[in-house]
């Protein structure tokens, strides 16, 4: 029964981008959806979960300084943590390295990026750190969190919510439409 409910809940249509901003991001441009809690990391809970997808945006970006890690590469969609993708995406995984309230971070609901263990160690980045993701074709940007750890050398891997937020279209099998590229800056 659960299985049937899960299958019927899936949508194999192409995701449409929503929100996003063009040009050089400003603080307002970077706020996608509604803020969901503050300084979210790992197992912290959200007290005011409502509104649009994502982790919101950092309250004070002036304290970030230079990015600890930057990559510029083809975008790849990580659907991990999104139960509805289990039957469609051959790369799907139930788990994400980061958690919210002890549960995986749902790719469809939260804007997150993926780093490798080596990238995190070399840059000093940690799960929960902020990342600015920019669509190189359109200039649309949004804030995301580092919430999953992938294989060595992987770059440009972003969640469904993040892809949508920067105007990248993708299919339910996680393939992107076209060959969009993204710049990911981790702070």
């Amino acid at each position: 029964m659960l299985l049937i409910a899960s299958i019927s809940g899936c949508d194999d249509s192409i995701s449409s981008p929503s929100g996003g901003a063009s040009g050089t991001p400003t603080q307002n441009d970077l706020t996608q959806g509604q803020q969901i809690g503050n300084a979210v990391s790992g197992n912290q809970s959200f007290d005011n979960a409502s509104g649009g997808p994502g982790f919101g945006s950092p309250q004070d970006t002036s304290q970030f300084g230079a990015a600890s890690f930057t990559s510029d590469s083809l975008a790849k969609i990580d659907t991990d943590g999104d139960p509805s993708e289990q039957w469609y995406d051959k790369t799907w995984n139930a788990q994400t390295s980061g958690q919210i309230d002890g549960q995986p971070v749902n790719s469809a609901d939260y804007a997150y990026v993926v780093m490798s263990q080596g990238q995190m160690a070399a840059s000093g980045a940690q799960i929960g750190d902020w990342a600015l993701v920019t669509n190189n074709e359109t200039g649309q940007s949004m804030w995301a969190r580092v919430e999953d750890v992938g294989p060595p050398g992987g770059t440009g891997e972003i969640s469904e919510a993040c892809a949508t937020g920067v105007g990248i279209q993708f299919q339910s099998n996680s393939n992107t439409i076209g060959n969009p590229s993204v710049t990911v800056q981790v702070y």
């Binding site: 029964m1 659960l2 299985l3 899960s6 790992g42 600890s68 790849k76 991990d80 139960p83 289990q86 051959k90 790369t91 995984n93 139930a94 788990q95 994400t96 390295s97 980061g98 958690q99 002890g102 549960q103 995986p104 490798s116 263990q117 080596g118 990238q119 995190m120 160690a121 070399a122 840059s123 000093g124 940690q126 799960i127 929960g128 999953d148 750890v149 992938g150 294989p151 060595p152 050398g153 992987g154």
Partner: protein, 188 residues
């Protein structure tokens, strides 16, 4: 028949939706001569025989599923694999005249494309894991690993991790890069 089918489906459902609980258990791995230990708890540290920390290799283990470590026969080096659900990394600590240092094997070491070609596999790399095998001597240890590409296509590989003895450059995370290096990568 119907009951067993429901049971199988329910089991599959639950196992696929199991949350990412860390399976790490605190432990200490002593060096062969007992002078130091590798402590795995809320962090990964080299501690001396009195239990005082000498070096912290990893201070945040959130999301880490597995930590493997092996000391060199001369007790001057320890290699650590830090494993997450979809990826792992190799770090090391070594002792010289000035104390303990930490080193990192850079991602660029792993010839993913070449290994995939050699194995006749293509697709998107989904996950990677590796394990420590035996020390060949006090500067070289064998490592085995697995790459999983989309469609569950797997490539098993091996290589030798070498302490080069060359000075490394310090990265932003405080690791010396270039001190450990993978050589003789091959498909198993």
């Amino acid at each position: 028949m119907r009951i067993s089918l429901i049971s199988v489906l329910t089991t599959a459902f639950i196992s696929n939706f199991a949350w990412a609980e860390s399976t790490l258990e605190p432990k200490q791995i002593p060096a062969p001569d007992g002078s130091y230990s590798l402590e795995i708890s809320d962090a990964v540290r080299v501690v001396n025989s009195g239990g005082s920390p000498s070096l912290t290799l990893a201070s945040n283990l959130e999301g880490v599923q597995r930590v493997d470590a092996k000391w060199s026969p001369d007790s001057r080096r320890v290699v650590v694999v830090i494993g997450y659900t979809r990826g792992s990394g190799v770090e090391a600590a070594y002792l010289d005249g000035s104390g303990w240092h930490k080193a990192l094997q850079p991602d660029t070491d792993l010839p993913t494309d070449a290994l995939a070609r050699q194995a006749g596999v293509s697709g998107r790399l989904v996950s990677q894991s590796c394990s420590l095998a035996d020390w060949l001597d006090s500067r070289r240890i064998r490592v085995t690993g697995e790459l999983i590409f989309s469609g569950q296509k797997k490539v098993h590989y091996g290589y030798t991790l070498v302490f080069t003895g060359e000075p490394g450059h310090l990265d932003r995370g405080g690791f010396e890069e270039g001190v450990i290096k993978g050589v003789e990568y091959h498909v198993r």
